[in-house]
Amino acid sequence: MGSMQLLPPTASSHAADMDWLFAALIGTSAFILLLVFGLMILFCVRYRKNSKVERGDRLGRTWRVETAWTVATFIAFLGLYFWGADLYVGIHSPPKDATDIYVVGKQWMWKIEHPGGQREIDTLHVPVGKPVRLVLTSQDVIHDFAIPAFRVRQDALPGRYETLWFTPTKVGEYRLFCAEFCGTWHARMGGSVVVMEPSDFQRWLEAQDPGPSLAQEGEALFRSYGCSGCHGTASTVHAPKLEGVFGRPVPLQDGRTVIADDRYIRDSILKPKSEIAAGYPPVMPSFAGQIGEDDLLKLVAYIKSLADRTAQNSQTGQAAGSAERPAQ
């Protein structure tokens, strides 16, 4: 059995701010509560039916009293509003140097991918003192990534990214929950956030089997989904070659030109007929519903990694990922 804990651990840059806000809210409420309860009890005792106390003149012009307490409460409330709004904007403005960690929610687990390709499920390792931005999405229903010790949470919606950032301030292990009801095992969709010293975190990262990077995995998927059958260099099908495509303009059949960015690549996989590259027959089938959100990420990453390669030197398709991963 647990103890009679009153406050959760305070382990992020938001947490202390939030606790101060909490204190202010409690202070304001306590003042109003004591006022109301105090007066109620006072009146109930003093003016009980059998009490002989003098009633005398009652409050006359009520509108003065009314105006006074209306204005007073409104001003107090406005103060609280601005405080909260300011903090909220802060919670939604990640610093530029935050590390991006990708989180995909799925009934009923959190799949987490570090920039170096390290992967974990239901556990998130982060270094203390470094800002982290989580990029959240979901593969099925709405989930919510909640870390009470950091005082942050954010819904993860299917089909789009939401972000969430924090700077852990205290080494330790904290609970991680799914806060938006997502089905049978909603209560078990969680785990822990492990905050480590930066050096320990480096060691942890290195000790992880980094596995293939996203791009490398994407390459494997590129074959297993059969993409290489048409887009591969050896293919006889007249399909666009993807080397050097990313980030460059692509002329379309309807005369427009689009930049081959993340969106374009993704749409081309899911809705291939929406923007057909000029000079190619619209023969590609749609992969909507067949490729999961995390696989899609990997495919896009792979095609990106082909950006500065030409068709010749990518025969082996050895993605540069492992070599160029940030120094660890």
Binding site: M18, Y47, W63, A85, L87, D140, F181, C182, T184, A187
Partner: protein
């Protein structure tokens, strides 16, 4: 309109032999086909009581499950329990509770009318309610629903394995019951007032039911159409709420909360009305700041529509929308605060007695104040990022809806019990129940604020062990609360047969409903009253009030 419609029989002094309970016959048929608003109110009271105990049973099982961190039930059963609890309590108890029982019974009496404007519509509304109720029970019995009462897409439209469409149909139907009631009240209050009953002579109870009705009429259709869209989406696998189909789940949330936030005010505004009747009566003083109380109700009904997205601060709405909705939420806190101050000020220099209705009313003010103040917490953008979807929110809205609304419901039930039944309830037992409910409630729900801040999430059938202590407090409180809620069922039932005869005005209260006999005759007033004075003209000593 004049007093030309005299039916002319003299009133019996103590026991009204000619009353609505017997006047039109006592057969089942005469009840099931009645058009008398008072009888329909009784029908509603019986059915609502039934659903209150259904929802209460689910709540009991939920609290039982949460005694241990591992939980007792399987997650699927637990998920169905809280969904059942939510759907039944929200749509089959809280929303119709005060309006459809006391509102139905009292509004015509209070404004000096013979009935509501559309009695047949009133009966239809009850049949819709009962039909919807059976549909909901049927969905529960054949396997239940596991979406939560909020039916969030795409979970409800694609992933849930419960009988979602049936539940949606039930809520759809009960929505129409609610719309018809609201329509009836609005038209009645506008068109059926007795001579001299100007707007500022209306009791606050009537005003707050009027405000409630406006919300019912204007918000419920949006819920109905939204739930229909979800049902079609689930049946046909095509729809606008699922991203996989090209839709937007936040569109569902916007539409859902456009109803469901104002619905909170549907639940609480009639409670304000009840308290505004009880407090002056037992303080023997006019209501302090009558016009402010009245206009704060209307303001709440209107601004209540402007704040819905404060349920969505972490759901992915834009930053700007969050700022707007939070500000508006703070604005609506002001009229609520005004009411609390006015009730408190009404006590000043009064002659206060502490009969059971007054105990409930004082309990209401206390619990509602806590609920309202914690509303400031969750309306706060940043703070909501930490506590939304936790037990903090659960505790907050239970303080409003259970601590506030149910206290008001019981307060009103006791206050008007003599009028409705012609008999007095046993005072001692009633006070015991009021105290049990107050303390049991606080024991149940106050720990949940702490749990919420600690990070215990809603809708969890099992939880980390460090949360157990507070959960045990909460469950212990729930058992006290259950006793408190069960008690009135017994002593009120007893009083139906053995209670003392009440007479027409046992509280020496003002208000037209007390001018007619108890129980009132089928057509309410033998002579249509003419009103010459504002409400709540209380004086220290009980004296006969004339009209």
């Amino acid at each position: 309109m004049t007093t030309a419609t005299v039916t002319g029989k003299p009133d019996e002094p103590v026991v009204a032999t000619r009353n609505y309970l017997t006047e039109e016959g006592v057969t089942l048929r005469s009840w099931l086909l009645t058009k008398d608003h008072k009888r329909i109110a009784i029908l509603y009271t019986l059915s609502i009581t039934f659903f209150f105990f259904v929802g209460g049973a689910a709540a009991t099982l939920i609290r039982l499950n949460l005694v241990t961190p591992a939980g007792i039930f399987t997650p699927d059963i637990y998920n169905r329990l809280f969904t059942l609890h939510g759907i039944v309590m929200v749509w089959f108890f809280l929303i119709p509770s005060i309006p459809n029982t006391m509102g139905n019974f009292l509004i015509p009496l209070m404004i000096g009318a013979k009935d509501l404007a559309f009695p047949r519509l009133n009966l239809l509304s009850w049949y819709l309610y009962v039909g919807a109720g059976f549909l909901a029970l049927f969905a529960i019995l054949i396997g239940g629903v596991d979406t939560g009462w909020t039916f969030y897409t795409p979970f409800s439209s694609l992933y849930s394995n419960g009988y979602v469409v049936l539940a949606l149909a039930a809520v759809f139907a009960v929505g129409f019951s609610s719309i018809l009631t609201g329509l009836n009240f609005i038209v009645t209050i506008h068109r059926m007032r007795a001579p001299g009953m100007t707007w500022y002579r209306l009791p606050v109870f009537v005003w707050s039911n009027y405000a409630t009705s406006v919300i019912m009429v204007l918000a419920t259709p949006v819920l109905a159409i939204t739930l229909m869209l979800v049902a079609v989406e689930r049946l046909l696998r095509v729809g606008i709420f699922d991203p996989a189909l090209g839709g937007d789940p936040l569109l569902f949330q916007h539409l859902f909360w456009f109803y469901s936030h104002p619905a909170v005010y549907i639940m609480i505004l009639p409670g304000f009305g009840v308290i505004s009747e009880i407090v002056p009566c037992f303080a023997r003083k006019p209501l302090f700041g009558y016009k402010f109380v009245v206009w704060s109700s209307i303001t709440i009904a209107i601004i209540g529509f402007f704040v819905w997205a404060h349920h969505m601060f972490v759901a992915g709405i834009s930053l700007y929308a969050g700022l707007v909705f939070s500000l508006l939420s703070y604005v609506i806190a002001v009229p609520s605060a005004i009411k609390v101050f006015n009730w408190t000020a009404t006590l000043h220099k009064g002659w206060i007695s502490f009969d059971a209705p007054m105990l409930y009313a004082l309990g209401f003010i206390g619990l509602f104040t806590i609920g309202g103040l914690t509303g400031l917490f969750v309306a706060n953008l940043a703070f909501d990022v930490h506590v939304t979807d936790t037990y903090f929110v659960v505790a907050h809205f239970h303080y409003i809806m259970v601590g506030g609304m149910v206290s008001a419901y019981f307060g009103g039930l006791h206050y008007w019990w003599p009028k409705v039944t012609g008999r007095l309830y046993p005072e001692w037992w009633a006070r015991i129940a009021a105290l049990l409910i107050f303390f049991g409630f606080n024991l149940t729900f106050f720990p949940q604020f702490i749990l919420g801040y600690l990070g215990m999430e809603r809708r969890y059938y099992s939880y980390p062990p460090e949360f157990q202590v507070w959960n045990i407090f909460s469950s212990a409180g729930a058992s006290v609360l259950a006793v408190g809620y069960a008690l009135p069922f017994f002593y009120l039932g007893w009083s139906l047969f053995r209670g003392k005869r009440a007479g027409s005005n046992p509280w020496a209260a003002t208000g037209l409903e007390w001018q007619t006999s108890s129980p009132p005759p089928a057509h309410n007033f033998d002579v249509t009253p003419t009103v010459t004075r504002p409400p709540y003209q209380y004086r220290p000593e009980p004296e006969p009030q004339d009209v």
